[in-house]
Subunit: 255 residues, 2 copies
Amino acid sequence: MQTLTVIKIGGNVIDNELTLSHFLQDFAQIASPKILVHGGGKIATRIAEKLGIETQMLEGRRITDSKMLEVTTMVYAGLVNKNLTAQLQAHGCNALGLTGADLDLIRADKRPVKTIDYGWVGDVKAVNQNQLDYLLKGNITPIFCALTHNGQGQMLNTNADTIASEVAIAMSGLYAVKLVFCFEKRGVLLDVNDENSVINNLNEADYQVLKEKGAIHSGMIPKLDNAFAAIRKGVEKVIIRAPHLADHEGTTIAW
Amino acid sequence: MQTLTVIKIGGNVIDNELTLSHFLQDFAQIASPKILVHGGGKIATRIAEKLGIETQMLEGRRITDSKMLEVTTMVYAGLVNKNLTAQLQAHGCNALGLTGADLDLIRADKRPVKTIDYGWVGDVKAVNQNQLDYLLKGNITPIFCALTHNGQGQMLNTNADTIASEVAIAMSGLYAVKLVFCFEKRGVLLDVNDENSVINNLNEADYQVLKEKGAIHSGMIPKLDNAFAAIRKGVEKVIIRAPHLADHEGTTIAW
């Protein structure tokens, strides 16, 4: 099977012009099929503030009322996504900026209200493997922002890590998928204060032990849960690393 | 040759929820290949105002400094484009929201500064016929907003009427293209105050006469210039009408 690389970048890449420019240059040079998934949270918070809309975060997740959904749709799908697309085109990469609504690529259900009402937040229900493959077969590089839809005309906010792993899982029937999460650290660290304590290979048993010991905590947990879910569901390789590193320098998630 | 319908809608459709909903339902039901082009000017002006950015218009054209380009990229490519896309998907139309940067579909040159500096405004240089045809062949309906790029990473604002006619012209080698401009009047009127004075067929000679007499003026002139340019360059039919009308009830532009 042909290799498909799915890379997710977050605020630490997007908010730094130089890091972003290097990253996009490297990304454009991947010769085999590839997909980029991006967040853009800090810019959304800044624009929301200018519009007098308060940002409410809960366990790292954005509470998305109607006004905040407008902001994220503007910032993620407009400002961030189209500037990334234009810059990738300048690097010779045939980029196509997307939300889950486009081509019905990612359909989601509005998260049910239990104790917390997240608002217009969607949990991924289906990724349109055929449409996505039609794009890849046409030498097109999909650039996904963190938005999905419900199939009934409603846009929904969806975590970018989750979009990356769901897309990777969906395409793993057709491609040997490599999923890379880029973040601010060199990899998953044994000691969060020591950048040289990168765990090169992490399996699920060790992850559970490290989680219980408290060595892995907070923001790393949903990221690793997404990573292990991807591996369990057919993704060939998951790597967690800083954007400028080579794959072998980060943390490889193993079965 | 197969028919391709290119429809342009402006603020009078986008800003009215009911008109928009009817329009999208009708649009979704066109069985042959189709492309939608939309503006979104009033929403951009409203968001800009909330962000404390002043809107400057000159002869109906928006002066686009860096801050205004951010606003139009957010509003056109994000808010308006993705909501149209999600709603069309709900109507069973396989919509794909686009700017000219996506797939390098529409490349433009920044307008040279003569007496007026329009800022980040682009004049269309090339429409990527092959990429657009790959989408149409895949049963995909492109939804263009009023943005292009320069191929070097820079987004540019471009008039939606112009995008519609340039796209129509570019595709006329491959399809029998019908270009429809939807606007607030029933068609081109002989007397602007009489909605029943629709000119059913307008040729270029008559247009010149009516322009000289002052019967056709201001905002209609660039629209009709785009329309006649399209007809001269191979577009089979151009119609100017209100969104809810049938083609034969508006004005048909003839050679």
